[in-house]
């Protein structure tokens, strides 16, 4: 107890020096807290946006062949959805879906957009995630209704009820054009800059010239995106055991290539895989942050070592006196270590506290949702999501580094002979 009290008193004896050391530590902690908090936020935003882009956490695409042997993206198996629900009872929704790259035409304007067919009856994802600027969900779910992003609607100069043409290729590659009525406009900035338009699944299946019961992919929406990989693996294993053929696509080949005549196979992807590229970028950001932190830690350690070498010279007489009145070597060593731990702890705490308003300030900066960072944004802004475990780990690292930095001068202080210490400073 007396050692801790003495360490605290020593720290407060030179408040300016302690504040400078603590400040250096705090600065390093701020950098690492911002870096981990922002990358964690971006990761969450990417996963949420990719889930919206791909319509679920797990996506199963089915492939068959046409009469001429051409690979077609379609699922005909009526039991697949029921079996998926049975294997993953925790899933919030298991929905058939379809999508097409289409040209949306209004007057003399056109734009290439992805059209997603949604089974609105079973949907939990889109109606729960998209924020409508105009219109309402009841109209959006009507026959031949289309829900469009605000940027696209603005570009076309569209108002609710306007009729637009959607031109797309059917599953076999024929051109088709159909008409839709604008029923709602969603805030695309709030959806990671997504430009997808949404139409009722039955309408899109008809436009794609798919027969009743056919669809393109099955999407699974889970309560937690973090469980997608494990759930996907389980799904492939269980469906595989029931005779469903799953294949992985070579990176260079088109998604549905390689089907042999008469063959039906499936491809499964999870939100983690789909956000892989962005995840790799975020991984790099995290590594850069960690490297900066490590460099700063080394510099701070050097600073602490130098400072305590000075402290050792200043306190030689004091150490001699302490030894004379009965303090043991290990007591002297511990006082130095406790001092460094106190400074590190205060610095870490200050750094963590300071990073919070800075992170929130970063969250207030608006970014272009259609820009390169778009998919890592939530409602056009960076998310700051600090993680308690990471912060605790950072604090431990800082304290350990400080203790190591002080251990050299502390050891030398503890080895001082009392009589020589008193003589040297007499």
């Amino acid at each position: 107890m007396i050692r801790s009290t003495m360490a605290l008193r020593n720290t407060l004896r030179q408040p300016r020096r302690s504040a400078l050391l603590g400040g250096a530590i705090a600065f390093g902690v701020i950098v690492i807290c911002l870096s981990t908090g922002l990358t964690a936020g971006m990761e969450k935003a990417v996963q949420a946006n990719v889930t919206l882009f791909s319509a679920g956490h797990i996506i199963i695409n089915g492939f068959g062949t046409s009469e001429s042997g051409r690979s077609l993206n379609r699922i005909e198996d009526q039991a697949l959805a029921a079996k998926t629900k049975e294997i993953l009872p925790e899933a919030l929704s298991v929905s058939p879906t379809a999508q097409a790259q289409a040209t949306v035409v209004f007057g003399s304007r056109e734009q290439q957009l992805k059209v997603r067919g949604v089974d609105w009856k079973g949907d939990r994802l889109f109606s729960g995630s998209l924020v409508l600027d105009l219109g309402d969900w009841a109209s959006a779910k009507a026959d031949r209704a289309i829900v469009m992003g605000a940027s696209s609607a603005r570009r076309f100069g569209l108002g609710l009820g306007d009729s637009i043409l959607v031109r797309l290729s059917t599953v076999s590659g024929q051109q088709n054009v159909t008409e839709y009525n604008l029923a709602a406009v969603y805030d695309d900035a709030a959806a990671g800059g997504m430009t997808t338009v949404f139409v009722p699944l039955a309408n899109l299946l008809a436009d794609l010239n798919l027969r009743e019961g056919q669809y393109q992919s099955l999407t699974v929406f889970l309560p937690d995106a973090a469980t997608a990989d494990a759930a996907g693996k389980k799904l492939v294993e269980r469906l595989g055991a029931e005779g469903y053929v799953f294949r992985t696509a070579p990176a260079s080949s088109p998604a549905g290539s390689g089907a042999r005549p008469g063959e039906v196979f499936y491809r499964m992807a999870t939100v983690t895989e789909l956000s892989g590229q962005m995840g790799a970028v975020l991984g790099s950001v995290r590594w850069i942050g960690a490297t900066i932190f490590a460099i700063m830690l080394v510099l701070v350690m050097a600073g602490i070592t130098n400072t305590y070498r000075m402290v050792l010279m200043e306190r030689t007489k004091e150490i001699g006196m302490l030894r004379c009145i009965g303090f043991r070597r290990k007591d002297i060593f511990r006082i130095f270590i406790y001092e460094s731990l106190l400074i590190a702890m205060a610095g870490s705490l200050a750094g963590m506290l300071a990073s919070m308003p800075l992170g929130l300030l970063a969250h207030l900066i608006p970014f272009d949702p259609a820009g390169s960072l778009g998919s890592a944004l939530s409602r056009g802004r960076l998310l700051f999501s600090p993680d308690i475990l990471s912060l605790a780990f950072v604090s431990l690292c800082v304290m350990a580094a400080s203790a190591i930095a002080v251990s050299g001068p502390a050891l030398r202080a503890s080895k001082l002979l009392p009589i020589e210490a008193l003589r040297a400073t007499a």
Binding site: S68, S108, S172, Q174, Q175, V177
Partner: protein, 291 residues
Amino acid sequence: MKLRTKSLASLVGLALLVGLALSGAEAQGGPPPGGGGGMMLGMGMPGLDDYKLPTSKDPKDWSGKDFLMLVRTTDIRSSFYDSDMTATITMVSVSPEKGTQTRKEIIYRRDKDDAFLMITLEPESRKGQGMLRVDSNMWRYDPSSRKFNHTTLKEQYENTTTRNSDFARFQRSLDYDVVKLDSGKLGKYDVWVGQLKANNDEVAFPFITMYIEKERSIVLKVEEYSLSKVLLRTSYYTSYVQIGKSLVPTVQTFQDGLIPEKRTQTTYTNISTKPVPNDVFTKNYLERVSQ
């Protein structure tokens, strides 16, 4: 009201374009009556050798098969089965959003193998880009990334109203069946108006209407429709040139059906039928010349 004005403007535009097309065909003199180089019979197309088309100009005397054989004749005559073909294509695209854009390409065709190679000469920013078709495979090549991307005949060409298939040999007679045949007038020309339906689901346009001039048996106009029977594109073949046994539409205008102001005119010049070396129809050649 706005839409009505727009459709009226489109109709007037269309009428002007048809007028231009037909006067263009007339100005060129067109091929001699009877089809220039003859029917190009015996091109390996079964049944064409001995097939006698009715001489009557009354559609009642024509069967669907007769019209299909006429289409087959126009397909074959516009192709080069006896020789290779090289030409320079000037492509002028007009779009309300992008304005007018001009491209120049060089094309090498070997129709007997259904192969072609097209390389962009202008604009400078796209120079060296290419498109290669060999057998049933087709690639686009981008010299800046040095990558080949798989494509198909059905794809749109560079966001214009042309399709990749417009640069290859025609084979409408193989992909379509006749639904209805009528007689009509296109400008001052007497034409067969044949409504055709695709006999497979892999052609880009499930329905087409062909306007073939009765006297010279040349295609003047083709309307292409979507699966929902919406007009997607109208192609005008306004000028033909006789080259050897082939009768080539040298000026073609493709007008978008949904945005009538959007159109592309392709003009073929410097057409040659000299043999093209075999290695031209290879990826290596395309990579080499694109450097």
